[in-house]
Symmetry: C2
């Protein structure tokens, strides 16, 4: 694969990710991507034969991103609260982009997704929930955090606050998301 092709393939993926988060799986088309890149519709099919392949590629980049973040967080010389803040920041920036998180995007379109994508989505969700749960468990063990729920359950609570928080804030305004974050951080601070 030449460098030009790598660029195009990466560029397609980057735009697909943005469109996924802004519009959802069923509301963007190959034509939208082609227009932005000034290439033809069929050029995208060359790199990603079916829309299913494109979506698999999108999910893969997030799996890699969160695997990378997970490893970074374990080793990072920062407090557990700061680690969670790094994670929360990923959600906060979405609102300014009029976007929602990729998990929320695929979750609402779930019934229309191909089986291969569904399986990969489940893998991504498990990865993220576990990463947050481990950060929470670690923080509590170190006495940096305090909460009474099981780490896995607390992770579910925080994840749902964030995922639906950005969905809500896109409609009602960013302040609602900020209030949610403030409250959930206050819940786990020691």
């Amino acid at each position: 694969m030449s460098e030009k092709s790598i660029d195009t393939k990466t560029a397609i993926l980057t735009i697909a990710k943005d469109l996924m988060k802004q519009l959802g799986y069923n509301a963007f088309s190959y034509a939208d991507i082609a227009q932005q890149l000034n290439i033809k519709n069929a050029a995208i099919h060359y790199h990603y034969p079916a829309k299913e392949d494109l979506l698999l590629g999108v999910i893969d980049t997030y799996i890699e991103e969160y695997q990378h973040l997970g490893k970074q967080l374990v080793a990072a010389p920062i407090s557990s609260l700061q680690k969670l803040s790094l994670f929360i920041d990923k959600y906060a920036v979405l609102i300014d982009q009029k976007s929602i998180c990729i998990i929320g995007s695929v979750a609402s379109d779930y019934n229309t997704l191909p089986k291969s994508v569904r399986e990969k989505v489940l893998k991504l969700i498990d990865l993220v929930i576990l990463m947050v749960a481990q950060t929470l468990a670690d923080g509590r063990a170190k006495g940096e955090l305090d909460f009474k729920e099981e780490p896995k359950v607390k992770s579910l609570l925080i994840m749902t606050n964030l995922a639906a928080g950005v969905q809500l804030a896109r409609i009602t305004g960013k302040n609602d998301f900020n209030e949610i974050v403030k409250a959930l951080l206050d819940q786990i601070k020691n």
Copy 2:
């Protein structure tokens, strides 16, 4: 309007609501509804000229439903915890139907919705958040509930737990939703 027509119009709306919750705004078509009702595509356009009108009709039924529920809850001779449970039950049943809540459904498609729909969605969201907030405030005043956040903020936290909870549970299984509900009820019990 004859009775037959009322039946058809109501039936269209009922199916549209189901499709919205299962597939989302952009993933269902007039053909899907027509097929289920054994009528022609154009018959739906007779009752709802544009898809925008159909979606406005769908949101309206939910606004009416929650206005009704809100009035019922104020007068009902049950505890605040039971009132919240009635609300939570509305979300629990969605999972078995492989559906998500209407707010979550329109929230993820928000950028593709007509302006008229967006305004009505905001009205619905405000209504629901306020209803939950008032139930929470009332319960705390009566000593039935205990939480440290402002009622509006606690309402946001619970709403996001529920909305994203059903989205998540459709993928990972109902148990995750049950765990979320158990934990959030435990947080506010006195």
